[in-house]
């Protein structure tokens, strides 16, 4: 019996090919994996953003003078509001809300222009539907600022010498677009969930069917086994990354203001960390359902709450800040914010890169050890 010498290699061609076959022959799962990021980024990018666009405004204007007309025009011109209708009486406001035909009602006082001209003071009432308190606050804030702008303009026209104007500059996100905040977070979440789920399930499936045992008894090194298994899912994730980036730029309108190459490299590293995390999950999970739950549900909460995606890490209590350090998404999202939104040079992401690399090594090392002791 001849004993062929077995050389050390990272990938085993036949194993990689076999894994690709698993993917391509399960068309339904493959389509799901490719479409999931599309659905998620559109869902998160549009639906869950808290910004207001084209809220419907109803106006009750008993004064009907040049000032009210101009202010109404201002509101309508803003991208936040559409002045949809004029009301015949203040009482109609209730009706408009109840029938769901208005998000905001603007009520001018009688003799609005006259008062303003004579006393320098006039009132306008803003009515919002506070069953959704966040939206109500946002709408009234936007409307107030438009009114304040208008007031400033009037003051300028009357050229009163002493006036204070506070100038507010919005950095990085001058239009206050929600997508700017959401895109890095959504990218961090989608990639880690999909990647971890894919690699965890693919390993656990082999444990369930018993083929893992046969692979472990074979002369293939566990190291080669892991990397051959990850390679096809890495390729699939690169397609997902491209989808996500294209959607972010062309659909959500968030440009890549820094180095695209840097962003891509950071994302590839993050994909690898996520796949390795799935590998780690697979060593604990006994069934495919458990693997799915662990990578889907259990991973989702810390990623959403601790990664800085929804709540800034700096505002968290110290213990949660510490906890957030072990969430890979935290570092990736921070890096993406720097590279994609702030347009900073890659050199400023070295900390994120170093931490993610460390995590990758740690996950792979633990998975390897577990795989070798596998029962």
């Amino acid at each position: 019996m001849s004993h062929r010498s077995f050389q050390f290699s990272i990938f085993h061609f036949q194993l990689v090919k076999k894994e690709f076959r698993h993917i391509f022959r399960d068309t339904r799962s493959m389509l799901m994996l490719l479409l999931m990021p599309v659905v998620q980024i559109i869902l998160f990018g549009f639906a869950i953003s808290n910004e207001v666009k084209s809220a419907r405004v109803a106006v009750f204007d008993p004064a009907k003078d040049a000032f009210t007309a101009r202010l109404t025009e201002r509101l309508h011109a803003s991208r936040y509001f559409d002045v949809a209708r004029q009301l015949g009486s203040a009482a109609e406001a209730n009706e408009a809300f109840r029938e769901g035909r208005a998000d905001l009602v603007v009520v001018f006082s009688e003799n609005f222009g006259e008062n303003l001209w004579r006393t320098g003071e006039a009132t306008v009432q803003l009515l919002a539907d506070a069953t959704d308190p966040n939206q109500a606050v946002t709408l009234t804030t936007y409307a107030s600022s438009i009114i304040a702008d208008y007031r400033q303009e009037l003051l300028a026209e009357r050229s009163i010498p002493l006036r204070v104007r506070a100038q507010v500059n919005m950095l990085y996100n001058p239009q206050l677009q929600g997508a700017y905040n959401f895109v890095p977070g959504v990218m961090g979440m989608i990639l880690i969930l999909i990647c971890a789920m894919m690699s965890a399930i693919s390993v656990v499936r082999e444990k369930e069917t018993g083929t893992m045992e046969v692979l472990l008894v074979s002369p293939v090194k566990p190291f080669t086994l892991i990397f051959s298994k990850l390679a096809p899912y890495f390729a699939l994730s690169v397609v997902n990354l491209a989808t996500i980036l294209l959607l972010s730029v062309y659909v959500l309108g968030v440009p890549v203001s820094g180095s695209l190459l840097g962003l891509t490299m950071l994302s590839l590293l993050y994909i690898f960390v996520s796949l390795a995390l799935g590998m780690l999950i697979s060593t604990v999970a006994a069934t495919q359902v458990a693997a799915m739950l662990a990578s889907g549900m259990v991973l989702m909460l810390p990623v959403m709450l601790l990664s800085g995606m929804m709540f800034p890490v700096e505002n968290m209590p110290a213990i949660l800040q510490w906890l957030s350090c072990i969430v890979p998404a935290r570092w990736y999202i921070a890096g993406v914010k720097k590279l994609m939104i702030e347009g900073l040079p890659v050199a400023l992401c070295l900390q994120e890169v170093a931490i993610l690399s460390l995590m990758a090594v740690a996950f792979i090392a633990v998975s390897l050890k577990k795989l070798k002791n596998e029962s």
């Binding site: 062929r4 036949q14 083929t211 046969v214 692979l215 008894v217 074979s218």
Partner: protein, 256 residues
């Protein structure tokens, strides 16, 4: 640990080179001794039945012999290599078929053969010609491009066995290879085992079916981590004055 007396079991009478040899092979998990200083040997080309109730330590012993887990003490030599020192060499020289028949259901028949042959480092040309040969022997020529999941269970098991010995291992380990099939199909499966043994491949098989135990050259029965009896089925029946291996097994396992 209390020291037990351990019988040394010599190889079969027509002494051939040994494929498996253990001496006081032991595996402990904490204070639990799963395999308790077993000593036995299997000759090349022998069909060796490795029996025992669930939890008797069969699987643990087999895992050590396959190079998957390190012995706590004692030693085992498989295909000429010490399992503790050269697990990779051992893995290279053995074949393995698990009770869950261990092929990929979503791969075609030839793809499964190609994959496992590739894993054992066989060359492309050898694989191609041997695939033809194997498919012909099994009468599977028409099924070359069939997905394995479309095959009946008995066929899958025959294919899995052929894949396990495709790279001509010195020893093939079969872990309850015929679970869930009827006696007639099991008989056909055993024809393959006999063919392999005739070619000089040592067959190390665990089973719950006592009709299969009768097919083995020699049979060992494990109880509580130790090999309680080891001999040819005929000699065991005579020694325990039992009409069948079934009764031999019952009496051995239930001994107080």
């Amino acid at each position: 640990m209390p020291s037990n007396s351990h019988t040394f079991y010599p190889p079969a009478a027509d002494a051939q080179p040994l494929s498996v040899y253990t001496e006081r092979l032991t595996k402990r998990f904490g204070s639990f001794t799963a395999v308790d200083a077993i000593t036995f040997s299997v000759a090349q080309g022998e069909i060796f039945g490795f029996l025992g109730a669930n939890g008797a330590g069969k699987t643990t012993a087999m895992r050590m012999l396959c190079g998957l887990s390190k012995p706590t003490s004692g030693c085992a030599v498989v295909a000429g290599y010490d399992v503790a020192r050269y697990p990779e060499k051992v893995k290279q020289s053995i074949g393995y078929m698990s009770q869950r028949f261990s092929l990929y259901e979503d791969l075609k028949v030839w793809e499964n053969i190609r994959l496992f042959a590739g894993i054992y480092g066989m060359g492309k040309k050898v694989i191609a010609s041997k695939t033809e040969q194997t498919l012909a022997e099994l009468g599977f020529e028409a099924e070359r491009n069939t997905l394995v999941k479309a095959l009946p269970l008995g066929w899958k098991q025959k294919l899995a066995f052929s894949v396990a010995i495709f790279h001509e291992p010195e020893v093939v380990f079969l872990d309850e290879p015929t679970g869930g099939v009827d006696p007639a199909t099991r008989r056909k499966f055993w024809e393959l085992i006999y063919q392999a043994a005739e070619r000089g491949i040592t067959v190390f098989v665990t089973t719950h079916y006592m009709d299969e135990a009768e097919y083995c050259d020699r049979v060992s029965i494990m109880v509580d981590g130790r090999i309680e009896v080891l001999d040819t089925p005929k000699a065991l029946r005579q020694r325990l004055n039992a009409p069948s291996m079934d009764v031999v097994f019952q009496r051995t396992v239930e001994k107080p």
